[in-house]
């Protein structure tokens, strides 16, 4: 079973993330599922009628605005990093927390590596499914990379210049 980082701790993964081309066919009623945006787009009613938990995942070129008024349906919003150097979803996480007031889980999936975690957490991610060949235990150290930061973001409402002693 994959282990993920959630709120700074390692937990067992209980969600199933469906592939981008997934269909409703044979879908479990009770499992907790993170579905691709296209599936939600086409089958929102059916997905809402299931008994299991529901999350959605967005690829790097998919925009959060498309589901900004439907966020209450999702316990998890997962944002995919095709490469860790693709920073688009850093802005998505910021918008989810700051603009759309989303309180559920914001999860980083895909090419998620230790050296990005500090900044991603700042933007609003609270869960990280690390690339499978990486040890989440080791990655936890990243949260201690910096003791102080200059900017306001999702983790820190005030920029340093409003906090300097």
């Amino acid at each position: 079973m994959q282990r993920i980082i959630k709120d700074g701790r390692i937990i067992d993964e209980t969600w199933h993330t469906l592939a981008k081309d997934a269909t409703l066919e044979g879908m479990s009623n009770c499992d907790d599922l993170i579905v691709p945006l296209a599936l939600w787009r086409d089958h929102a009613h059916a997905l809402k009628a299931r008994d299991g938990g529901l999350g959605v995942w967005l690829d790097a070129d998919e925009e959060i605005e498309e589901i900004a008024d439907q966020l209450e349906h999702f316990q998890v919003i997962a944002l995919n990093f095709p490469a860790f150097t693709d920073g688009r979803h850093s802005s998505t996480a910021y918008l989810l927390r700051q603009r759309y007031g989303y309180q559920g889980e914001v999860r980083a999936i895909g090419d998620v590596l230790r050296d990005q975690l500090f900044a991603l957490r700042r933007c609003g991610f609270d869960a990280f499914a690390l690339r499978e060949d990486r040890d989440p235990e080791d990655a936890l150290k990243a949260f201690d990379d910096f003791a102080e930061v200059y900017q306001a973001s999702s983790d820190q409402p005030l920029p340093l210049f409003r906090r300097r002693a």
């Binding site: 500090f118 900044a119 990379d145 200059y150 920029p159």
Partner: protein
């Protein structure tokens, strides 16, 4: 200059620890080369042709004598005894061992220096006028604003992996010495009619493969909104800039694709959410930062015009030097002095460890212990008493800093090129040297007058060839190094991009080609007309005809 408090120091020290661990993991095989690459680049570490190159940040070009001494020591202990001033006012070392880089960074942190974001797809060092704070034509001192931007952009969590590199420049003078219109964001600090301070904002300028002059999308942004507005621009760029092709990933391509008007609408729509939020700058913060840039303890002095004119008459060498390397200062009795790093025979912008030590010493004795790097790759002592200019000139000659060529043809802006850089198509330093040797007659050089000659070894344009009055670009032609010449670029106010003259030339033809171009100028100029103005008047054809004439 700005002095770190405990917060700034802590952030830099934490960065040293983080990078030390990243490098350890790379050397231990825990991080692949591909994974380590963006991490090291964001710390200015390139793997070059012969050795790594480490680019040290010099925020908006300012250095204290203590920092200069540290750079001298690093050049001695970790490099081959020299450093290079880059066209972004930074300092580069060409020969450090990768294993030593964490230790170099730890040494730099002891003098409040670092290599943060000096490369990679992030917000780079903010640059400005090398005469900031002392220029006679200055309206607003840009330095506090540069520092405020530096802090906002340092490890910004949302903008750590942009589509491409991102460069911001700030100008506060009548003349634009910061070349703001060829930056991703250019900021012109000014006062509006009501006397309020704000910024005129340009976006989407840039050099590189697709040179474009920026578009102004805001004619007056009140200073309080500077950071929220920058954040809005960066968010739009981070989300919508192209990531499928690195040559189309700069913000200029996005601005062009959307049109500047539509881009501005997107920024303003985003900014509407941020306006008057926590990013709004406070009087207290601007004051806190500005107090680091108040005037040093200037004496009440008078201008020394007569005494200097007398010295000029006795010492033609001094007169020549003064006419090129000394500029007016806002305070009577003071002057700003440019130390030329362009003597013939040395790579443009290179400085030895001994020269760095001498420079620190000169800064302490003549200029309140501070120096500035210019994007033209020279060094400035900004606060020299006019009465000391003559003795300073003597000392500068001994240290090899007194070449009287600032702003002349031989004051070449030049990237490290194929001698060092693994991106380069062609060498640039030998071309600079060949041209410097051809124009070794000082009288002729002075007669030619103001002329920016910029050389880049490839189309990444580190040598800013698009905005040289004469630009030279190294190109690869079937595995051979060739050089394309362009004319008429200018980085100042109303910036213009150079036009390509025609087919490229072999390296050994370059001095002749430049010679012919200069002859066309000299024959066509009216009295006191600069090269650029003659070019703009007569156009490219006479130059073309002469250079490509069949009989040469």
């Amino acid at each position: 200059m700005y002095v770190y408090d405990e917060y700034d120091q802590r952030i830099v020290e934490d960065r040293v620890k983080q990078f030390r661990d990243q490098t350890r993991r790379y050397l231990a095989g825990e991080l692949s080369g591909e994974e380590y690459r963006p991490l090291r680049l964001q710390n200015g570490l390139y793997i070059q042709r012969y050795a790594p190159m480490l680019r040290i940040a010099v925020p908006y070009g300012l250095l204290s004598s203590r920092q200069v001494r540290k750079l001298a020591q690093i050049a001695r202990d970790y490099d081959k005894g020299y450093a290079h001033i880059s066209t972004r006012q930074n300092v580069q070392f060409n020969w450090p061992a990768l294993e030593d880089v964490p230790e170099i960074l730890a040494e730099l942190a002891t003098v409040q220096m670092h290599a943060i974001q000096t490369s990679g797809n992030c917000i780079r060092n903010t640059t400005t006028d090398q005469f900031a704070g002392v220029a006679r034509d200055e309206r607003v001192d840009p330095r506090p604003w540069c520092e405020i931007i530096r802090q906002w952009s340092t490890f910004h969590p949302e903008f750590a992996h942009l589509p491409r590199k991102f460069k911001i420049a700030v100008n506060g003078s009548a003349q634009d010495r910061a070349a703001i219109e060829v930056h991703d964001i250019g900021l012109e600090a000014l006062h509006n009619e009501a006397g309020e301070l704000g910024f005129r904002v340009s976006v989407g300028g840039g050099l590189g493969r697709t040179p474009i002059v920026g578009s102004f999308i805001n004619e007056f942004l009140p200073w309080r909104h500077l950071l929220s507005y920058l954040e809005a621009i960066l968010r739009v760029y981070n989300r919508y800039g192209r990531r499928d092709n690195k040559y189309k990933a700069r913000i200029k391509i996005l601005v062009k694709a959307l049109t500047p008007e539509v881009f501005a609408e997107r920024v303003h729509a985003e900014w509407a959410h941020l306006e008057d939020g926590p990013l709004t700058l406070t009087d207290a913060e601007v004051q806190r930062v500005s107090q680091h840039f108040i005037d040093p303890a200037y004496k009440a002095l008078d201008d020394q015009d007569d005494a200097l004119a007398h010295l000029d008459a006795e010492h033609p060498g001094f007169a020549r030097w003064r006419s090129r390397n000394v500029v007016a200062h806002k305070k009577p009795g003071y002057a700003a002095v440019t130390l030329s790093l362009k003597p013939t025979g040395a790579a443009p912008g290179d400085i030895t460890d001994k020269q760095l030590d001498a420079l620190a010493d000169l800064a302490d004795r003549y200029s309140f212990g501070e120096v500035r790097n210019s994007h033209e790759q020279n060094i400035i002592l900004a606060d020299v008493e006019q009465a000391q200019l003559f003795t300073l000139w003597g000392e500068l000659r001994e240290a090899g800093f007194a070449t009287p060529n600032v702003g002349l043809l031989t004051d070449v802006i030049c990237c490290p090129g194929g001698d060092f850089c693994s991106l380069a198509n062609a060498k640039s330093i030998p071309v600079a040297e060949a041209i410097q040797r051809r124009f070794d007659d000082l009288d002729y050089l002075f007669d030619i007058g103001d002329l920016d000659l910029n050389i880049s070894g490839c189309m990444n344009a580190c040598g800013h060839h698009h905005v040289g009055h004469i630009g030279i670009l190294g190109v690869d032609k079937k595995g051979q190094e060739f050089y394309q010449v362009s004319l008429g670029g200018d980085a100042g106010r109303e910036a213009s991009l150079a036009q390509i003259l025609g087919p490229s030339f072999a390296q050994d033809e370059m001095a002749d080609v430049i010679d012919r171009i200069i002859k066309v100028y000299v024959e066509n100029r009216t009295e006191d007309e600069r090269f650029l103005d003659t070019f703009r008047r007569v156009g490219i054809d006479p130059f073309k005809e002469r250079v490509y004439a069949a009989n040469h």
